[in-house]
């Protein structure tokens, strides 16, 4: 593995982001918040343009610790477009706690450091998607976490804000430490930091007599001891980022204690990181197509443990998230619980992908039908992720735009009391008459999250359920795995029903309750713009889900199909016929 000029060429969009961040940091000394976000948006636009020029699907380009394949290109596109909209939300986030200093004076809305920090966060996230190396993966994850701490403490300086950022800081540290254990174990298993090398070592374990690596000799029995620790620790790291059980505890407290703009970031971007980590983990046990390498028993065990684990965590996560959400009255707490529940839905697809891949492996590693089945699981997760992103950013964009509302006061009293933060469900009462556009948009986003057809959330849940039910559905005998996944599907559907309860409660508040408080919508207009953008995206996906679905399943299949070997610049010839079959099966969809 060598790091060369080409590596930097591949990372050009991330480098642009870092540069833009530096500019934003410098500019913050002279110009205000707006200049910072302007730089951020320009930088993101430039990065999007550059990444659009880079080769994407089909040929996976790998250089040094970086791999650009269909999966990472999809992730990058998701991160940058999501980031662009989040920029608008963040720029419009005028949370009052950030406005008032301790002395009661008012300083300018936020600071330019916010924009720079946010750009670095995005660059780190994009690195996570591109990483083909454990070290880069870990660094990328930290590059996501550390800016998040800063954002949390920058936005809100009151006691609640400080508490939230500290909580996030400590728990994130623990999660990082746990994940580092997993990294070490993986290194021990594979004898290399390269994911491709680890994968190839993992698959050959048990088939070749004894494998020797730089860290010594690994036997299958040693691997069997290492596997549970690796998986558990890696899952812990991913679970923290996705806000999944057992690392979900921070979410409600932190969301509540921060501004809606930050909550938008927290509920979306780390989820992407978690999904990437788990997807890369699944891909470890799948041989690159055309490689023909046999899959050993250790890799089989790895996948089997992984999907059992992920399935159980998924079921518990969605149930816990939804049950907690039912009891919430605070808006951001409720959305945090909903975010936990959605992490559970996302995990269903991962579990299905892992289970489908393990059957692919047992069939000899190269069975096309099985590979296309695994494409469904990961593709469904990616699709769901995109729809979740659109709806969630939209909701928080709307809340950011609303900002505060007038408290109750009578015109006879002298002074108008200070504005109140919109924080409980009751604060949304009567929104349909005071801010009809916001109310309508929020209703659409909520319905999408609840999975009501024809909104994209429905298509997402549908594809998740289809992928889960597709496991072994062709099998002659009703197997153990099939019953697992049918059970998981039942849990998912029941949870969707529970979730409808609290989403509809919000809609009821907006449309069927009245209030005598006025809503001022004092958030920045850009947050409103972000909400409208999300609304357009959500509506267009409801009418035409097909385009997104195609690209999501393509991205998923490149990962489970072709994790490229270390120095190969492009995939060799043999993957061509496979590409064709893949195309055909996509066309059919």
């Amino acid at each position: 593995m060598t790091t060369s000029f080409e590596t930097f060429l591949l990372l050009a969009p991330e480098l642009v982001l870092i540069l833009a961040a530096l500019v934003a940091f410098l500019a913050s000394a002279f110009a205000g918040l707006r200049a910072g976000w302007l730089v951020a948006i320009l930088g993101l636009g430039l990065a999007l343009m550059i990444s659009g020029d880079q080769p994407t699907a089909g040929a996976a380009v790998s250089s040094g610790p970086v791999t650009l394949d269909g999966f990472s290109a999809f992730m990058r596109m998701l991160i940058y477009t999501g980031g662009l909209v989040l920029c608008l939300v963040q720029a419009g986030d005028r949370f009052r706690a950030a406005v008032q200093t301790d002395s009661g004076g008012v300083h300018r809305h936020g600071s330019g450091e916010e924009a720079g920090t946010f750009l670095i966060l995005l660059a780190g996230l994009s690195l996570v998607g591109l990483a083909n190396d454990l070290v880069l993966l870990f660094v990328g994850l930290e590059l996501v976490s550390i800016p998040t701490y800063i954002l949390l403490s920058l936005k809100r300086s009151d006691a609640a804000g400080q508490e939230a950022s500290l909580k996030y800081f400590y728990l994130s540290l623990i999660a990082s430490a746990l994940f580092l254990y997993a990294v070490v174990c993986l290194y021990g298993l594979g004898g290399s930091t390269s994911l491709a090398a680890i994968g190839s070592q993992l698959r050959s374990l048990g088939t070749t007599p004894v494998a020797t690596t730089v860290v010594g000799t690994i036997t299958p029995s040693m691997a069997a001891v290492l596997l549970p620790v690796t998986l558990g620790m890696a899952l812990a790291g991913a679970a923290f980022r996705m806000a999944a059980v057992p690392m979900h505890f921070y979410a409600p407290d932190v969301y509540q204690g921060t501004s809606p703009g930050n909550a938008a970031v927290l509920s979306t971007l780390p989820k992407i990181a978690g999904v990437v980590v788990l997807a890369r983990l699944v891909a470890l046990a799948i041989p690159p197509l055309g490689n023909g390498q046999p899959v050993g028993p250790v890799a089989e065990t790895f996948l089997a443990e992984l999907w059992h684990l992920v399935a159980v965590v998924a079921a518990i996560t969605m149930t816990v998230g939804n049950c907690m959400a039912l009891m919430q009255t605070n808006l951001r707490r409720l959305l945090a619980c909903s975010s936990i529940a959605h992490a559970g839905y996302l995990l269903v697809g991962i579990a299905a992908a892992a289970a489908a891949s393990s059957s692919a492996s047992s069939l000899g590693g190269n069975s096309l039908t099985a590979a296309s089945a695994s494409l469904d699981g990961l593709g469904a997760t990616l699709f769901y992720l995109a729809t979740y992103l659109a709806a969630t950013i939209g909701i928080f964009g709307g809340l950011t735009y609303l900002g505060h509302r007038w408290p109750e006061w009578s015109a006879t009293s002298q002074d108008r009391p200070p504005l109140e933060e919109i924080e409980t469900i009751d604060d949304l009462n009567g929104l349909a008459s005071t801010n009809p556009v916001v109310a309508l948009s929020l209703a659409v986003f909520l319905l999408s999250l609840a999975g009501i057809p024809p909104f994209p959330g429905f298509w997402g849940k549908l594809s998740l359920v289809t992928s889960a039910l597709g496991i072994d559905s062709g099998a002659a005998v009703f197997g153990d795995r099939q019953s697992w996944f049918i059970g998981l599907t039942v849990v998912l559907v029941l949870n969707a029903a529970i979730a409808a309860g609290y989403y509809l409660r919000l809609i009821t508040a907006m449309y069927f309750k009245t209030t005598d408080k006025g809503t001022q919508a004092d958030g920045g207009l850009s947050a409103g713009l972000a909400m409208v953008v999300c609304l357009v995206v959500v509506l267009s996906f409801s009418l035409r889900p097909r385009g997104l679905f195609t690209s999501a399943s393509e991205a998923g299949s490149t990962l489970t199909g072709t994790l490229v070997t270390d120095v190969a610049d492009t995939m060799p010839g043999p993957d061509e016929p496979i590409d064709l079959t893949m195309q055909a099966s996509l066309e059919e969809f």
Binding site: Y170, I174, A236, D253, H308, A325, R544, S585, F589
Partner: protein
Amino acid sequence: MSPSQLLILVPLLPLLAALATVIAGRRLGSRAHLPAVFGIAAAAIVAVSLVITTARSSGGGENPRPVDMVTTLWEWATVADAYEPEAGSPAAVPGTAIGADAHAARPLSIAVALRLDPLTATMLAIITGVGLLVAVYSIGYMHDDPGYPRFFALVAMFVFSMSMLVAASNFLLVYVFWEAVGACSYLLIGFWFSKPEAARAAKKAFLVNRVGDFGLAIGVFLLWLTYGTLDFHDTLSPDGTILPGILGQTRLADVSGYVGGLVGTAICLLLLLAACGKSAQLPLHVWLPDAMEGPTPASALIHAATMVTAGIYLIARCAPLYMACPGALVTVSIIGTTTALVAALIGTVQNDLKRVLAYSTISQLGYMFASLGTGTLLGFTAAIFHLLTHAFFKALLFLGAGSVMHSMGGVIDMRRFGGLRKLMPITAVTFLIGSLALAGIAPFAGFFSKDEILASLHSKGWPDAHHAATGEHHALLTTPGLTGQTIHDVGYRGVSAQSDHALSSSAATGLDALNQPFVWQLLFWMALITAGLTAFYTFRAVFMTFTGPLRVPEEAGHHAHESPPVMTLPLLILAVPATLAGLVLFSTESLSHFLAATPSFTAPSVLETATPAVFHWDLAIQGTLAAALGIVLAAVGHLGRRSDGPQMERWLGPFRPFLEHRMFIDQLYVGLIVKPLEAIAFLAAMFDRAFIDGIVRGVAWLPVATGAVVRRLQSGMVQRYALAGVIGVLAIIVILAWRL
């Protein structure tokens, strides 16, 4: 622009108009009609140009080419490998799927696809044309209504839905817009929702229609199971094979392409149930008279001219399906003729002008069903012909009734006014024209279409008298644009042949036994009696309203007057086609030739029934005599001073209460269906409250209780969170290791 792009405009413009009215309606105030009027007007112009385009590309003449232009806007949803035809199933008949794998799995793809063919073009022209006149008329009729913008938004929305319904090239899309027009109808019947009768009528219409919708839904499911597709048109699968659509060229050209027997009959009867709901046929006709609670322009547009013809459209569109099931066909005719007779009988004693027209609509729709059920090319085109003329003269009559109601201060009871011809001459003359057309007096429009319907019934009852041109119309159907070569020689075999020979030995279902000449003879006589009754009740209404001494109800106040020009102008415009459309279209035979190019009518089973167009003097004389007798009776009873007289009571004797109570059909439904259902609903409600709710509360309590437990962990203390997280991870590791 290409025709297919133009086609998109027809629904699109009214949709945009509806949205514009919804968004800006309040601001537009008294000009809220502008988007709807202009949107529908533009759509009407486009629709007329589409008719011309379609007519040109069909080539005209005796053997027109089938015209079938399909535009797929986008694929809404797709499920891969949704259907795997078994060997021998109709979806897999070799020859219907061209290509090696006729049994290969195929996707369920729901394409938003619009089609343009003569039937669609005709329907679009009717919908937008009548829609435009009604919209213009409503400017005057609705002018001081508080819901002015809402009304125009709904009308535009209806025109959009109805255009989509007739342009959709997919059964699922048809279903969607079938529901959409139902929803628009519901909203327009209940337009004055604060009036309890209107709200009740809207609910009744909706519920009765649900019965029909149920039939459509099950029918669509069965179609999917039988044919493995829901598209009308042929589609190309990714591997280059042709998936034959249900009404696509490939299947149409295949003589055995359609399923008869039990399944086929079931599909046809379910679609018939749907059509009965929407088109107010027995036994689902009860909603239409009550629907007159809505604003009169809505009644004219939806409940006379367009929406109620959706059932006719559906059956005409599915003609090849019906041709394979003679039993279903004869059922269509029996239901249609019975409805025509029953509704006409009830119509003779109604005193509410709009209700007379409502029953007349039901009766005329019955005629169209009777004509469709004959299963001949003449029958199908005659039904559409009558649909067209009926749209004109019935809209004219309704708008005339609305004009009367408008100037009488909302009173519509014919016993309370009379002699209005002096007061409102334009309305009187145009109403008379409409009535002559409805009664079927030559040379008005209704005469010719009704004559064709009688002729089609007659040809089934006395087949020897009409030399069916069997075998003369062998058609070599080609599929241009697909393969460019002849795919099938159209022979004369299979189930489709049964339709012409009543005593077919291989009757698949019991219903086929009804396909006997004497049944058809009976139906013919019923239709002829109905023609007389139609003339009677129509002219009874004319005489009661417009002749005799001038009487005006006090609600009208002192300003009873002729309606403003914006209302009379549509009347005058509509009077022209109500007079001439029949004569022109019949003498030139342009409509029947035009319609014959519709793909559904080019199925060999339909084509072989084609007969040379002849004017049947004997039938025309019989029909005219019946009508004249009706008019004379009406004159004896109600002309002039007797316009409010009790003659009917003397003539009908004990029958009168029977008819006045609409043959107690409503009461029958209340007694047999509504009351038992209410009793069951009551029991179910008790059970629900006592038992199910308990369970539900228990279940609902479960997540809340879980939440309460989980919330304990959510203590807010960061060290506990960390501990719980680490314990969780350790538990995972231990469990995984233990499982090893």
